[in-house]
C-alpha cells in the first residue's frame, strides 16, 4: 500500500494525515475527515455534486486524489455558514426559494455558485444557467436554483456583501 503524508486545511481547520496515494479527494473528505456533506453522484466528473472549493476555485473532488490537495486550502459545504452559525446569504436564498428538494446536488450547487457570485454579483439568468451547467439536479428542474442565485446576487449588491 503506497501512502503519503499530506497536510491541508479544510474549512479553516488543519489536518495532517497519512493517505493511500490512490484515494480520491472526495473519499478522503467524506470517509477520512467525516465531512459527508460533499456528495458523490457519479464519480466520473459529470454531475458536480462533489464540487468543493480549492484555494477558492471549484474542483471536482471525485476527479482529484487526496495527495493532490496537499498544501491547499479547501472549503466544503460544511464551511459555508457564517462564523456565528447562521446560514450565509446563498444558503439562505436556497431556503427562501425552495432551491433544493432531496439536497443531494446541493453541496455542488452551493460551491459552484459561491465561486461564480464572488466574480459576478450582477448576473443575468442566462449567466447563472451557464454557471451551473456542469451540475446535475434531478429534483428541482433548476428554476428554483437559478432563482436562489439571482436572489442572493441581488442581496449581495444591495447590502454590499460578498460570500
Amino acid at each position: 500500500m503506497d501512502t503519503r503524508k499530506i497536510k491541508l486545511t479544510v474549512n479553516g481547520k488543519s489536518y495532517e494525515r497519512e493517505v493511500e496515494t490512490r484515494m480520491t479527494l472526495g473519499d478522503f473528505i467524506r470517509h477520512e475527515l467525516g465531512l459527508t456533506g460533499t456528495h458523490y453522484g457519479c464519480e466520473h466528473g459529470v454531475c458536480g455534486a462533489c464540487t468543493i472549493l480549492l484555494d477558492g476555485r471549484t474542483a471536482r473532488s471525485c476527479l482529484m486524489l487526496a495527495v493532490q490537495a496537499n498544501g491547499h486550502d479547501l472549503v466544503t459545504i460544511e464551511g459555508l455558514a457564517l462564523p456565528n452559525g447562521d446560514l450565509n446569504p446563498l444558503q439562505n436564498a436556497f431556503w427562501e426559494n425552495h432551491g433544493l428538494q432531496c439536497g443531494f446536488c446541493t453541496p455542488g450547487m452551493l460551491t459552484t455558485l459561491t465561486e461564480f457570485l464572488r466574480e459576478n454579483n450582477n448576473p443575468t439568468e442566462e449567466e447563472v444557467r451557464i454557471a451551473i451547467s456542469g451540475n446535475l439536479c434531478r429534483c428541482t428542474g433548476y428554476q428554483s436554483i437559478v432563482d436562489s442565485a439571482l436572489a442572493c446576487a441581488k442581496r449581495m449588491r444591495e447590502e454590499n456583501i460578498t460570500l
Binding site: T36, I77, L80, F94, L110, L136, C137, C139
Partner: protein, 793 residues
C-alpha cells in the same frame, strides 16, 4: 424576513406557501444519506458482475480474491444461507404473467443481463474490495442474448432464460364497449405506430445500504437509500429467515428516488447476511456505472394504434397493441405496462377500446416504474394520434381535444377498464376542458399563429404543442401515521412513508399543526423507520399525501379530541369550550385558564393505580391508517412553445405552461417544485434520455457523458397554473402531484417541434427525439439541399 427567522406562523398552514423545515441541515451539509453512515469496524462490499448479457456459469474461483490482504469473505450463491438461495419473492403477482421469474440475490448458475451480480467481496475498504473483485475468476459459457423486445417474440429467437418456453413473459387482452360497431360506423380511421424509450430514473444519489447486526439483542438494522421501507423489510424477513420483530429498516435522508428505488434488490440481502455472519457492520455504496447497469429502467415500448372517429372528430373507438421490453425479471410484476395501457384514453371519451398487451423477456436489466410509470408513453401515443387526426380532419389541435373531453358533469366517470389497484378506472373529479382552456389562455395560444408568421418571416422556426393527461394517484392499500403529544410538550409524527426530497415532513407538519394549534417548530417527524409504526408500504405512485397525509390528518384530529376531553375535565368545562394555541389548551373565552400540552401529556400517561375519569383514555396519541377506496385521478395540460434550429436539430423552449389539478394543495411552494422538477424529467424523456444497448444487449450508454440528463440550460421556467378540484375520496381532498409534470411533456414538446417545421410535413413517432434524430428526419424530408457528393450512401 431572513431564512433564519422562525417559520411563518400563519393561522391555517394547509394551503400556505411554507418554507421547508427539511432544508436547514441539508444546506449545512448535515444530512444523513446512507453512504454518510460511518460505524466502528465498518466493512465494505463490492460486487462481481456479469460482463455478458446471457451466459451459463460453469465455475467460479474465488481463492485468489480471498487471498487479498484486507478481504474478509467472498460469497457466491452457494455460500448463502438456504433462505437466501431462493428467488426474491414476487410481491405483485398478476394472472397475465406466464413466467413469474424473479432474480436470485446472487446468480445461481445463469446470468441474464449485463451487471447481474455473481459474487460479493467484503473487505476493509472499498478499494480493496474492488481490487479483489477483479481476481474472482468466473468461467462463463456465453449464450445467445435477446437484445430487443420485438426480436424476442419473433420465431426462432434465442431464449432470454434457459428453460422458458418462449420470451412472452406476460400477455393480456382486454377491452370494453363494442369495438366492431365503433369502427364499422367510423368516418375516419387513423393508424400509427410509435417507438418510445423512457430511459432510467437516475436520482442523484444511487443505491446504498448499510447493515448493522447488534449481537447483544439479535437485532438487525438496515439503513437504505430506498423508497419502500416496509417492502424491503418483507423481503429481508423471507430471505434471511429473520424474526420480524428484530429487523428494522431505516431511511434517513434519501437523495431522490423516482421509482427504481422502490424495488428490492439482492445487494441489500447480501449486505445484511454478511453483517450478521461477520458480526460487523457492512456497507455497499453503488457507483453510477452499476446504477446504469443494474437499477431498474423503463426502456423500450412499441405502440400500434387505430383510432376511429366520426365526421366531426369525435372518437368512436380505439384499438391498441403494445409491446413492452421487460428485461430479465418481474420485480414489480407488470404494473408499469398495465398502467400504461389503461392510461391511454386519458381525459377523452373513448366509447370502445381493445388492448392487446405483450410483455417480452429480454437479456437486459428489469423494467419497473420511473416517474410517470408508463403513463408518459400512453399519453404520447394518444396525444400524437389526436394531432394526426386533427391534421387529417383539418381541425385545430386544441379543438379536436375540446370535442372529446370528458365533461365535469360526467364525473364520476367510469372509463371501462379495471385499474392496477383492482378497482374500475373511475375518474373521481376534475375539469378537463377548463384545465386546457386555462393553459392555452396563459400560453396565448390564440396569438400563436401571428407569432409564428412573424418568426418565420425572420427566418426562425417556432412551434406550439400540447398534451393532456389523467393520472391515477394516491393508490392504496394504505399508509399510516401516529401522532403523539410528548411529555415535553412537543408533538411527534411517526409514519412509514419515506421521503426522497418531496418535503413530506413539512407537509405532514402543516396538516398536524392546523389540527393541534401548534407552530411547525414544535412538531418532530420520523419517516421511513419500520420501528416507528407497525405497518407501511412506501413512496411511489404519487401516493403519500393522499395516504399518509390523510392518516396524519385523521390521527391529529383524534388527538385534538383527546386533548380537549382531558383539558375540559381538568379545567371543569365542556370539551367544546376548549381552544388550542401554541402548545396550550385553554378555555375559549377565558385564555388565562389553560393547561400546557406538556402537563396534559403527563397526566394522560397516568399515575400508577389511579383510574381515568370517564371519557378520558390513556395517552395523547392516535394511530390511523388511511385506506383510499380507489385511486384519486389528477389531470393536467402542458402547452409548449419552442424554437428549432434545423441545422443542428437543437430546440430552445420559449414558453412552458402547465395546467395542473392535483386537488387541494397543502403547500403550493412544494407542489410548484414537484411540477417544475417533473417537467424537467419529461424534457429529458422527450429530447435527451435514451438507454441504449447493442445487438448483444450490451449497454452502450453507461455514464452521464453517453446518457444525457437535462441540464440547467435545457429546462425553462414552468408557468404552473393550478386548478384545485378536491378529490371526494379523502378527507383532505388531495391528489398526487409528483409525476404529472413528466407525463404530457413528450407529446407537447414533439408536437411543437413538428409544428415549428410544419412546412416539411413531418409526423414524428419516436421519443426521445434527440437532435441527431431530428436532423436526420429533416434531412430525409429534403430540408437540406445536400450536394450529392456529400450525401451519405
Amino acid at each position: 424576513m431572513g431564512a433564519n427567522d422562525p417559520l411563518v406562523d400563519l393561522k391555517g398552514f394547509i394551503g400556505a406557501r411554507v418554507k421547508r423545515t427539511e432544508d436547514d441541515k441539508l444546506l449545512r451539509g448535515q444530512g444523513l444519506f446512507a453512504d454518510d453512515i460511518h460505524l466502528p469496524n465498518l466493512l465494505h462490499a463490492a460486487f462481481v458482475r456479469s460482463p455478458h448479457a446471457h451466459a451459463r456459469i460453469r465455475s467460479i474461483d474465488t481463492a485468489p480474491a480471498k487471498a487479498v490482504r484486507g478481504v474478509h469473505v467472498v460469497y457466491v450463491w452457494a455460500d448463502l444461507p438456504e433462505s437466501a438461495r431462493q428467488r426474491i419473492p414476487l410481491l405483485t403477482p398478476n394472472p397475465a404473467i406466464r413466467d413469474p421469474l424473479m432474480p436470485y440475490v446472487l446468480a445461481k448458475n445463469e446470468v441474464c443481463f449485463v451487471g447481474d451480480a455473481v459474487a460479493v467481496v467484503i473487505a476493509d475498504n472499498r478499494y480493496i474490495a474492488e481490487d479483489a473483485c477483479t481476481l474472482v475468476d468466473v468461467d462463463y459459457d456465453v449464450l445467445p442474448a435477446v437484445a430487443n423486445g420485438q426480436a424476442a417474440l419473433a420465431a426462432g429467437s434465442p431464449l432470454a432464460h434457459t428453460g422458458i418456453k418462449d420470451n412472452l413473459g406476460a400477455a393480456l387482452r382486454m377491452g370494453y364497449g363494442d369495438i366492431d360497431k365503433a369502427f364499422a360506423g367510423a368516418k375516419h380511421v387513423v393508424r400509427e405506430s410509435f417507438w418510445q424509450n423512457r430511459g432510467s430514473a437516475h436520482p442523484m444519489e444511487v443505491r446504498n445500504y448499510v447493515a448493522e447486526f447488534h449481537a447483544l439483542t439479535g437485532q438487525l438494522t438496515v439503513y437504505s437509500s430506498g423508497q419502500a421501507p416496509f417492502l424491503e423489510k418483507k423481503n429481508l424477513i423471507d430471505l434471511l429467515a429473520w424474526d420480524p420483530e428484530r429487523l428494522r429498516v431505516v431511511m434517513n435522508d434519501v437523495g431522490g428516488g423516482f421509482g427504481p428505488k422502490a424495488i428490492f434488490y439482492g445487494e441489500q440481502a447480501v449486505v445484511a447476511i454478511a453483517a450478521c455472519r461477520l458480526n460487523r457492520p457492512v456497507k455497499w455504496a453503488e457507483d453510477r456505472r452499476e446504477h446504469f447497469l443494474t437499477a431498474t429502467q423503463e426502456r423500450d415500448q412499441w405502440w400500434d394504434l387505430e383510432l376511429a372517429l366520426d365526421a366531426t372528430g369525435k372518437i368512436q373507438g380505439l384499438k391498441l397493441g403494445m409491446l413492452h421490453d421487460n428485461g430479465a425479471y418481474f420485480p414489480w410484476g407488470i404494473i408499469m405496462p398495465y398502467i400504461a395501457v389503461t392510461t391511454t384514453p386519458g381525459p377523452y371519451v373513448v366509447p370502445a377500446m381493445t388492448v392487446d398487451l405483450k410483455v417480452a423477456f429480454t437479456n437486459k436489466v428489469s423494467t419497473t416504474p420511473v416517474r410517470g410509470a408508463g403513463r408518459p408513453q400512453a399519453v404520447f401515443a394518444m396525444e400524437r394520434m389526436l394531432d394526426k387526426a386533427a391534421r387529417l380532419l383539418g381541425l385545430d389541435r386544441a379543438e379536436i381535444r375540446r370535442r372529446n373531453f370528458v365533461q365535469p358533469s360526467q364525473m364520476p366517470y367510469s372509463v371501462g377498464f379495471i385499474y392496477r389497484d383492482g378497482k374500475p378506472v373511475r375518474y373521481d373529479s376534475g375539469d378537463y376542458p377548463q384545465c386546457q382552456a386555462k393553459a392555452l389562455a396563459v400560453a396565448d395560444y390564440e396569438g400563436f399563429p401571428a407569432r409564428k408568421a412573424k418568426a418565420r418571416a425572420a427566418g426562425r422556426f417556432i412551434g406550439i404543442g400540447m398534451g393532456n393527461y389523467v393520472e391515477g394517484t394516491g393508490l392504496g392499500p394504505f399508509e399510516g401515521a401516529t401522532v403523539r403529544v410528548q411529555q415535553n410538550g412537543r408533538v411527534t409524527i411517526l409514519t412509514g412513508a419515506s421521503p426522497q426530497g418531496q418535503g413530506h415532513k413539512t407537509t405532514f407538519q402543516q396538516i398536524a399543526a392546523d389540527q393541534l394549534g401548534v407552530p411547525l417548530e414544535l412538531i418532530d417527524v420520523t419517516t421511513a423507520d419500520t420501528s416507528g409504526i407497525s405497518m407501511g408500504i412506501g413512496t411511489f405512485a404519487s401516493r403519500i399525501t393522499v395516504n399518509a397525509g390523510n392518516s396524519v390528518f385523521m390521527a391529529a384530529r383524534n388527538v385534538r379530541d383527546k386533548i380537549a376531553r382531558l383539558a375540559a375535565f381538568m379545567l371543569q368545562v365542556k370539551p367544546a369550550d376548549i381552544a388550542m394555541e401554541n402548545g396550550w389548551a385553554h378555555v375559549a373565552n377565558d385564555p388565562a385558564r389553560r393547561k400546557s400540552f406538556s402537563e396534559l401529556a403527563r397526566v394522560s400517561q397516568g399515575m400508577p393505580g389511579f383510574s381515568y375519569p370517564e371519557g378520558v383514555t390513556n395517552g395523547l396519541e392516535d394511530t390511523q391508517y388511511f385506506s383510499p377506496a380507489q385511486a384519486a385521478y389528477c389531470n393536467g395540460t402542458a402547452v409548449v412553445e419552442l424554437e428549432v434550429d434545423p441545422k443542428i436539430g437543437q430546440i430552445k423552449i420559449l414558453r412552458y405552461v402547465m395546467g395542473h389539478d392535483s386537488g387541494k394543495l397543502i403547500n403550493p411552494l412544494i407542489v410548484d417544485g414537484q411540477v417544475q422538477g417533473a417537467v424537467a424529467h419529461g424534457i429529458g424523456n422527450a429530447t435527451l434520455e435514451w438507454m441504449r444497448y447493442d445487438e448483444n444487449a450490451q449497454p452502450i450508454t453507461a455514464n452521464f457523458g453517453e446518457y444525457l440528463l437535462p441540464g440547467a440550460g435545457d429546462v425553462p421556467r414552468v408557468n404552473t397554473q393550478h386548478l384545485e378540484t378536491p378529490s371526494p375520496l379523502n378527507p383532505l381532498g388531495v391528489k398526487g402531484a409528483g409525476e404529472g409534470g413528466t407525463i404530457p411533456a413528450a407529446p407537447a414538446i414533439i408536437g411543437a417541434i413538428e409544428d415549428a417545421l410544419s412546412e416539411y410535413g413531418l409526423f414524428i413517432t419516436d421519443a426521445p427525439l434527440t437532435p441527431q434524430r431530428l436532423y436526420q428526419l429533416l434531412r430525409e424530408a429534403g430540408a437540406f439541399k445536400t450536394p450529392a457528393s456529400l450525401a451519405r450512401p
